[in-house]
Amino acid sequence: MSQVIVSGIITGSLYALAALGLVLIFKTSDVVNFAQGEMAMFCTFIAYTFMTFVGLPYYIAFPLTIICAGILGVIVYRLIIKPLSKSNVLSIMIATLGLIMILNGLAGNIFGFETKSFPKLINAKNINILGVSLEPNSLLIVLITFAIMLSLFFYFKTMEGIAIRAVAQDVDAAKLMGISVKRVTVTTWIISSMLAATAGMLIAPTTFLDINMMSEVHLKSFCAAVLGGFNTFVGPAVGGVLIGILENLVGKYISLAWKTVFAFILIIVMLVVRPNGLCGKSYRRKV
């Protein structure tokens, strides 16, 4: 029991990690970036290329990839988001669907279709706490997830953070405050692309690296964000961990074959009970 719960927390923190970038974009532009997972995958391949073909060590490839991810964020912004800045949210979401196809297709062509193994952050022996076996690497991932979550949470209280939220709520009014909407948007795309890369590189040892490595994580991260509350940064963590645990418990005690069905039904039910997610604040427009 405790083993599956701990495992659930660890898997859940992967979902949460992947969800943070999603939430960031959503908070700035109300857009759900369907391509978040593919961006993560693409960046992870870049890291892999640095390590195997350029021969760089992990601790150099990692930050280098983060920089590349930032560039990818700028490219996505310049080529897709900016030209669409006057379009409605749905159009942008469809464009990110298109981006999935482009990134997935290109990744296959550039990096090949084989599944590869990707190194862990740290390689230490499993530790055993109260009969639960734990990988130190997983613990580190959980910590990193929470650290990123907390930094984002506090970042959003600063002037720049408030500016990001202001842009999401009213673009013209934000401009009237002297906020450069372009700069704010490109910044969030850069950060979220970097988050994607981080997520990808930390998740790859678990899912292994290939063009599909993020598909399941991405779907679940989306669920995690919504379940926890799409407009908070604490939400994805809560949602992710909950989904991770839920799936394992349903699998263990009800049915492994039907666990996805159960998990989704439970998500729907939880949402109906708390329509803004577990941590989300309800905001109703006043008339």
Binding site: I162, A166, D170, K175, L176, G178, N231, Y283
Partner: protein
């Protein structure tokens, strides 16, 4: 300080402004009157760079700002309190005020002092400073919008119908505040439906009709103009 020459604004086929000339001297309060749809809001939006299809020239402190981006214009010291309040509904009152001072973010400003200055004008806002702005009453939102516009310490303050939805006692207050701010050296461009109040506090006024300036002059003079009285003052 602000010189507008032959300004035209179009929305598709609608010609909202058809060549407007306006000249605002530093330190003045200038008001603009006009009935619904006359193009008053369009004028302010053109100045702050929020309309796309415009022509003519707009000079601010001698600098051509016609084709500048809104954020640049604003950082030059123009503050625009827009029509329809446009507060950020999901930010708290205090966050709304804070973002009002965004252009001062790199200067050493004591935000707390600035908050207190606004709260002194509108004590109601202080009571509600942790409330999410979207749930404020209409008038409270209006106060917030004005307060937010004051936070950036502008050289030119443009107010689009600030008295809209405010109780008479606050309307009087607003005019007093405008006067006070003006006396601190801020130039004010004021759009008002409350023509009486606007004419009383302003130095100079323009009357817009169907996108054109139909008359202008010293506010005191206009206040006694028969035509103006009939169309705007309900007399």
């Amino acid at each position: 300080m602000l010189i507008i020459k032959n300004l035209k604004v179009n929305y598709g086929y609608v010609n909202a402004l058809k060549g407007v000339d306006i000249d605002i001297k530093g330190g003045q309060i200038v008001s603009i009157l006009g009935s619904n749809g006359a193009g008053k809001t369009s004028l302010l939006k053109a100045v702050s760079g929020l309309v796309e299809d415009k022509s003519g020239t707009i000079l601010f402190d001698g600098q051509d700002i016609t084709n500048m981006s809104t954020e640049k214009i604003v950082s030059l010291g123009i503050s625009h309190c827009p029509e329809g309040r446009r507060i950020f509904p999901q930010l708290t009152v205090e966050e709304n005020l804070k973002i009002g001072a965004y252009v001062l973010r790199n200067k050493k400003v004591n935000l707390q002092e600035e908050f207190e200055r606004v709260y002194a004008f509108f004590p109601k806002l202080k009571e509600r400073r942790r409330q999410v702005a979207g749930t404020l009453s209409g008038g409270e939102q209006q106060m917030l919008a004005i307060g937010r516009a004051l936070m950036s310490k502008p050289k030119l303050l443009m107010l689009d119908e600030p008295s809209l939805g405010l109780a008479p006692i606050i309307v009087n207050e607003i005019f007093k505040i405008i006067k006070q701010i003006n006396s601190e050296g801020v130039t004010v461009l004021l759009i008002e439906q409350n023509a009486n109040g606007a004419l009383k506090i302003s130095d100079y006024s323009y009357v817009l009709e169907l996108g054109q300036v139909v008359s202008e002059g010293d506010s005191k003079k206009l206040l006694n103009d028969e035509g103006i009285r009939k169309s705007y003052l309900g007399a």
